[in-house]
Amino acid sequence: MKRKLRLMVAKPGLDGHDRGARIIARAYRDAGYEVVYTGLHQTPEEIVEAAIQEDVDMIGLSSLAGAHKYLFLRVIELLKEKDADDIVVCGGGIIPDEDIMILKQAGVKEIFTPGTTLDEIVKWVEDNIHPRID
C-alpha cells in the first residue's frame, strides 16, 4: 500500500507573515496529507535538518519579505549537500517573475504567487509529489 505523503510547510528567515503558510498547511491536512509545519523564523539549515529527520516528501517554502532568493537557494544547496535532493522543493509568496525564473533554474520545482487557489495548490501536490523511495 502506498504510504501517505508527508509535506513540510516551512517559514525560512526572519519574515513573520505566516497567514499564507498556515492556510496552506491546513489545506494539505484537510486534503488528507501528513503535515509538518516548522513555525516561524527557521534558518535553511534547521529546515533541511528537520525535513530529513521527519522524512518528508516535499518542502513548501513561504516568503513575503524579499529574502527568498538567498533563503530558497540555500535550502536547495543544503539538500544537495546532504544527498537529500530527492525531496521536492516548492515555494510561494511575494516573488517577482524574474526571481521565479532564477529559482526554478536552481531546482525549485514550482512557485505559487498570490491568487492561487487552495485547490490548485493541493492538485499540484497530487500530480507532482510521490513518496520518496528509501
Binding site: 510547510v9 528567515g13 526572519l14 519574515d15 513573520g16 507573515h17 505566516d18 497567514r19 503558510a21 498556515r22 492556510i23 498547511a25 491546513r26 489545506a27 491536512r29 503535515v35 509545519y37 516548522t38 513555525g39 516561524l40 523564523h41 534558518t43 519579505a65 524579499g66 529574502a67 532568493k69 538567498y70 533563503l71 511575494i94 517577482p96 517573475d97 504567487t113 498570490p114 491568487g115 487557489t117 487552495l118 485547490d119
Partner: protein
C-alpha cells in the same frame, strides 16, 4: 433617557412597513435577490434594510452624543477635521538610512505632515546586519538600523522638532526609541519637546505579526518601562501604539480585530497601574492603530464602536478621571491584504475606499498603501499617488465639512452596536481566561485568527467572496504593468563594513560597561531606558543590546499553530 425617536413613531410606521413587506414578498417571489445571504468581508450578516426599529433603544447622549463628549462615538475632538485634518503619515523605509532619508524628504516636500518609519527584518527582530540570521534581508522591507549613526543619517535635515515621527518597531522598540532620543539630544533638541510614536505593542506580535524576541511577560515589563519613562521624561510621545492592523492582516474579522486590540490595551493599562503609575498620567498617551479593510460600512462602524468601548473601559474599569484618558486616538492603515498583484492599478481604487472609511470613522492619522504594495516596497511614483489620494479626499471631496456625517444612519448605528456587543463578548471571554497574557498562552487569539483566515480563503475559492482580478474579471496571461522597486543586494556588504568601522572607532570599554548596566537593570527592577540611552550614545549596536535582553529574559519560540 434621550431616545432619538418618539415611541409613537413605531406605531405610525407599522402600516407602511407592513405594506412595504407585502410588496417586497411579491417581488421576491418572481425576482429573487442575487444572493441567499449578504455579508461583510468578515462574513458578518447584513440585512436587506435598516429602519428606526433597529436603533429604537439608541440613547443620543449615552450612545452617540456630541463629538468631543463621552463616549466619543462621533469623534474625540469637538471640531474634528474642520479644526485640523488628520496627520498624513506615509509609512516609508527602504535600503540604507540615506535611501530612506531621501524618501522622507520627498514626502515632506509633497505635503506629508508626519513621518513614519519602516525597518528591515533584521532590525525588527533585533539583529545587526552582520548577523548570520540577517543574510539576504538587509534593507529589503525597510531601513537597516544598527547604531545611532544610522539613526542620525535617517533623520538628517528633517525638522523633528516640528514634525512627529512614528516608528514601527516592537521587540527592540525601547532601543530604537533610545537612539531617537539620543539623536534629538545630539541635535540640541530638548527631549521633552519631541513628539511621536513607537509601536512597541508586543502582545499583538504573539497574536498576529510574529516579530517576537523575549517571552510575553518580560516583553510587557520592558514596555511598562517605556510607558513609565515616557510619562516622566517624554510627555509628547505615545509609548505604545496598540495595534489591530496586523491582527486583521493575519486574517481576523473586524470584530476580532476590535476585541483583541482593546484586550491588549487593557493588559498594558493593568501592567502600568500595577507599576504604580496613576492611570490619568499615562492613559492620555496610549494610542491605537487600526486596519481599514475593504468593507466600507463595517469599518466605519468598527472605528465608532472602538471609541465607545474604550471610553467605557477607561471610565468604568480603570476609573480614569482625565477626559483625555478616555479618548481612543488612532492611526489607520489601509488593508495590505485586500490588494492584488493582478491588475495592480485597481489597488488605487481599493485604497481610496478604505481611506474614506477611515476618515468617516474619525481617524487621527492615516497611511494609504501604494498600488504596488503587493509587489515590493513602493516606488516614488506609487507612494506619491497614495499620498495624493489622501489629499484629494481632504481637499476636494467635501467629506471633511461636517463631523461624523454617517451618525444617525440606521445601518451605521445598528452596526456600531453590533460591533460593540460582539467585541465585548470576546473581551469578557479573555477576562475569564485571566487576561490577554493567559489567552495567548492558550493560543486562543492565534487559533481564532487562523480559523477566520481559513474561512475567508475557502469562501474566496468557492466564489462566495469576490476579489476583482483574483476570482472574477480575470485578465488571462496578464503582464504586470508597473515597475517593481528592487533593493540592491550590495548594500548588505556596505552596511556590514559600516558596523565594523564603528566597532573599531568607538570606546569599546565604555560599550562593555554600558551593556553590563543594561543587564543589571534587566535583572533587577530598574527602568532600562536611561541606561539604554547612555549605551546607544556610545554606538552600542542594536543587537548587542537585544542580546542582553535575550540573555536576561530568554527567547520566545513560535508554537506553530495552524
Amino acid at each position: 433617557m434621550a431616545s432619538i425617536f418618539n415611541p409613537k413613531v413605531f406605531d405610525d410606521i407599522k402600516d407602511s412597513c407592513l405594506k412595504w413587506k407585502n410588496k417586497l414578498d411579491k417581488i421576491l417571489s418572481s425576482r429573487p435577490e442575487r444572493l441567499d445571504r449578504f455579508s461583510t468581508v468578515s462574513d458578518q450578516k447584513v440585512k436587506r434594510l435598516y429602519t428606526p426599529e433597529d436603533i429604537k433603544n439608541l440613547d443620543f447622549e449615552k450612545d452617540i452624543n456630541f463629538p468631543g463628549e463621552f463616549p466619543f462615538t462621533r469623534g474625540v475632538q469637538p471640531t474634528m477635521y474642520r479644526g485640523r485634518l488628520w496627520t498624513m503619515r506615509m509609512f516609508a523605509g527602504l535600503g540604507t538610512a540615506q535611501d530612506t532619508n531621501e524618501r522622507f524628504h520627498l514626502l515632506v516636500k509633497e505635503g506629508q505632515t508626519g513621518l513614519s518609519t519602516a525597518f528591515d527584518m533584521p532590525t525588527l527582530m533585533g539583529y545587526d546586519t552582520d548577523s548570520p540570521k540577517a543574510r539576504g534581508e538587509c534593507g529589503k522591507c525597510g531601513v537597516a538600523i544598527d547604531t545611532l549613526l544610522d539613526m542620525e543619517e535617517l533623520f538628517h535635515g528633517l525638522p523633528i522638532d516640528k514634525i512627529t515621527t512614528s516608528m514601527t518597531i516592537n521587540p527592540p522598540a525601547s532601543i530604537i526609541w533610545a537612539m531617537y532620543i539620543a539623536m534629538a539630544e545630539k541635535r540640541g533638541i530638548d527631549h521633552k519637546t519631541i513628539g511621536g510614536t513607537i509601536q512597541n505593542d508586543m502582545l499583538k506580535e504573539f497574536i498576529a505579526q510574529k516579530t517576537f524576541m523575549c517571552p510575553p511577560k518580560a516583553s510587557v515589563r520592558i514596555i511598562t518601562d517605556t510607558v513609565e519613562f515616557g510619562t516622566k521624561e517624554i510627555p509628547r510621545w505615545n509609548p505604545i501604539s496598540i495595534s489591530g492592523y496586523h491582527i486583521r492582516e493575519a486574517g481576523s474579522t473586524a470584530v476580532q480585530e476590535l476585541a483583541f486590540t482593546l484586550a491588549d490595551g487593557i493588559a498594558y493599562t493593568e501592567a502600568a497601574i500595577q507599576r504604580g503609575i496613576d492611570v490619568d498620567d499615562f492613559a492620555p498617551r496610549l494610542s491605537y492603530f487600526f486596519n481599514s479593510h475593504v468593507d466600507f460600512f463595517e469599518e466605519i462602524a468598527k472605528f465608532r464602536a472602538a471609541r465607545r468601548i474604550w471610553a467605557n473601559i477607561m471610565k468604568n474599569r480603570f476609573k480614569a478621571k482625565n477626559p483625555r484618558s478616555l479618548w481612543l486616538r488612532f492611526h489607520t492603515q489601509t488593508a495590505g491584504c485586500s490588494l492584488t498583484a493582478q491588475q495592480p492599478y485597481n489597488n488605487i481604487v481599493r485604497t481610496t475606499l478604505q481611506a474614506l472609511a477611515a476618515i468617516l470613522g474619525g481617524t487621527q492619522s492615516l497611511h494609504t498603501n501604494s498600488l504596488d504594495e503587493v509587489l515590493s516596497i513602493p516606488t516614488e511614483e506609487a507612494a506619491m499617488i497614495a499620498l495624493r489620494t489622501q489629499q484629494i479626499i481632504a481637499e476636494e471631496s467635501g467629506v471633511t465639512n461636517t463631523i461624523d456625517p454617517l451618525g444617525g444612519s440606521y445601518f451605521i448605528e445598528s452596526f456600531t452596536n453590533k460591533m460593540e456587543e460582539e467585541a465585548l463578548e470576546i473581551i469578557h471571554k479573555i477576562d475569564d481566561m485571566g487576561g490577554m497574557l493567559a489567552a495567548i498562552e492558550k493560543n486562543y487569539p492565534q487559533q481564532a485568527i487562523a480559523d477566520s483566515a481559513y474561512h475567508f480563503q475557502k469562501q474566496l475559492d468557492a466564489n462566495q467572496k469576490i476579489m476583482v482580478g483574483i476570482n472574477k474579471y480575470i485578465i488571462d496571461n496578464e503582464e504586470i504593468p508597473v515597475e517593481v522597486l528592487e533593493i540592491d543586494d550590495a548594500i548588505e556588504k556596505l552596511q556590514i563594513e559600516k558596523i565594523n568601522r564603528i566597532k573599531t572607532e568607538r570606546n569599546n570599554k565604555r560599550v562593555k560597561e554600558c551593556l553590563e548596566q543594561v543587564g543589571d537593570a534587566c535583572a533587577g527592577n530598574k527602568n532600562v531606558m536611561e541606561d539604554l540611552i547612555l549605551a546607544v550614545k556610545e554606538y552600542t549596536t542594536l543587537q548587542e543590546l537585544c542580546d542582553v535582553y535575550r540573555d536576561a529574559f530568554g527567547e520566545y519560540r513560535d508554537p506553530g499553530i495552524y
